[in-house]
Amino acid sequence: MHPIVRKLITFVVTLWAAVTVNFFLPRLMPGTPADAALAKLAGNGPVSPAQKQAIEDTLGVPHGSVWSQYVSYLDDAVHGRFGVSYTYFPASVVSLIRTALPWTLVLVGFATVLAFVVGTLLGVLAAWRRGGGMVGAKQGSAVDRVATVGSTFTSAFPYFWTALLLLFVFAFKLNWFPIKGGYQADTSPNWSFSFIVDAAFHSVLPAVTILVSGLGGWLLGMRNNMINTLGADYVTFAEANGLRGRTVALRYAARNALLPSVTAFGMALGLVVGGSLLTEVVFAYPGVGYLLYNAVVNEDFPLMQALFLVITLSVLVANLIVDLLYGLLDPRARRA
């Protein structure tokens, strides 16, 4: 079957699986899911009747068979009925997510893509400088060594630690950037120029965190891919035919080395999401990561489950885009 059709089917099926996991998890625990949730809430103090009702509505006091509950759950999911949040009662879960999601998409989307692009370019440079065995190029180089060692360290440090470090140095000690939030606490979001500038300012440290944490991995990956491609026959042949060094490096080596990097990008999206979540928590940045953190802390199950679905959906969509992009880049993947 056509590869695009296949990818769409996988997309839908995976989404369905995520929704199903969401449905079954609370029900795998002993007792009804509502009991479990109520018990946890009761540990923090008496539960109001409104909260009890909200919980039962969401998690379902079992009436009807599991199958009928499942079907109605699917129905709710498809129509975006995810219930009401405990923490921000009576705000609906959907409205909360709708507010938080754009912040995350802009921050994470921008920073991640930038990390990939810059990291990949530097990886090409590092491999080229290493000497890659190309006739006439110099062997070994400081650029390669520095880039490789540097990347290994920055990419091995977890996102949240880089976040903490940046927060400590640049916000707390040097006071160059704000310590928390997405915007100044006493303002509310609007489209005015001053607000946008303020928001941008608040997003610098989180963005740099994501950038620094991700860049090293792409650099190393691309460098290694380049080293492999530079040893390939088609590179040798291109040199033998007198193609200019830069043409060979870019159109022959890098262009092919890019393919596994793009694949890796798709696979790493899950990790990037995890890291960004924690980054948001450290900076109290008003995205879905911070929202999820609050949901966990307050045991706000409806919010938590909905966030899980939304995050998974975002990753799936991003994966789909990357897959399609790969199809454009690699003619061998276009087989109908």
Binding site: G133, A142, R145, L165, F172, N224, M267, G274, L316
Partner: protein, 312 residues
């Protein structure tokens, strides 16, 4: 930093040389030679060194730590001082002692989760690569499912609903989300090896599938398994830290992630108790980094082009 290191001059080279002519069992022989190749890489040496220090700290913590980690007799939220190098926590415990003892939990989780996740990855990956048809497709789908669904949100959701809190829950959750990567890599390699002649020969001579998988195919994938283990262990360290930071670990555990949780809880950011945030954070980062660095050397095992001192 300029001349490539002589590949034979690793710290364990003398051991390897002595073992070479001796009659020790072959797997040990191969392991030492593989370790030698890995350690020839400068970064792997650095990583192994860091890891060794941490293991020693974990083992000898009672001897090195100034106080017991759970002793709450000290003043609360004190800043760093001569008596308490990293200050004390909100409950009056010595932070340095907690840091040193915390190594035990982090290393335990890394090792246990790494081993478990890799064991599952081997089982699933090898059989999925070896089988054909519906069985293979189904396994593939499940593996891809676990790969695509983002790990941290999934861990959070599962951990929230599991009864109880603690290291066991964390290991379980980390393994559940961490086995798929290795499984995919091993499956791909098995599928490639499966078409090779030596496997066909084994099949013709009547060997049973599970024997073929473990005695013919697996030995050819040692470096991938090693890389898989290191990757799983790294993910476990970071996953544990993340979960505990958010509060999904047991508050009583003495571990680096829990230290961060309490520091955050006790508003260490605002009171300036930065040592209690930076120290455990750095420890986690170094542990994860050391595993990644060693993995860098393992890459050289499977791809000779990346070995030091060998031209591309």
């Amino acid at each position: 930093m300029n001349a490539p290191a002589d590949p034979l001059a690793t710290p364990i080279a003398p051991v390897v040389a002595r073992v070479r002519g001796s009659r020790l069992p072959r797997p040990l022989h191969l392991f030492l030679r593989a370790a030698n190749t890995v350690l020839a890489n400068r970064m792997a040496r650095i990583g192994a060194g860091i890891l060794l220090v941490m293991v020693l700290v974990a083992i000898f913590a009672p001897l090195v730590a100034p106080y017991s980690p759970t002793d709450t007799g000290f003043g609360r939220s004190l800043g760093p001082s001569a008596a308490h190098w990293l200050g004390t926590t909100g409950s009056g415990q010595d932070a340095l002692a907690r840091l040193l003892f915390g190594a035990r939990v982090s290393l335990l989780v890394a090792f246990a989760a790494g081993v478990l996740a890799t064991a599952i990855a081997i089982a699933v990956g090898l059989f999925a690569g070896y089988l054909h048809g519906v069985a293979e497709e189904t396994i593939n789908f499940v593996v891809n499912l676990f790969l695509v669904i983002p790990a941290l949100p999934l861990m959070i959701v599962i951990a929230t609903y599991l009864p109880g809190r603690g290291v066991g829950v964390i290991v379980l959750v980390v393994v559940l989300t961490g086995w798929a990567w290795g499984a995919r890599v091993l499956r791909a390699q098995t599928a490639t090896l499966r078409t090779r002649d030596f496997v066909a020969a084994a099949e013709f001579s009547g060997e049973r599938p599970h024997r073929i998988v473990f005695r013919e195919i697996l030995p050819n994938m040692v470096s991938l398994v090693a890389a898989s283990f290191l990757g799983a262990a790294t993910a476990a360290v970071l996953g544990e830290a993340g979960l505990e930071f958010i509060g999904l670990g047991s508050p009583d555990t003495v571990s680096w992630g829990t230290m961060l949780f309490w520091a955050q809880n006790d508003s260490a950011l605002l009171t300036g108790q930065w040592a209690q945030i930076l120290a455990p954070g750095l420890a986690i980062a170094l542990l994860a980094a050391s595993l990644s660095l060693i993995n860098f050397g393992v890459d050289a095992l499977s791809n000779p082009r990346l070995r030091e001192g060998v031209a591309p």
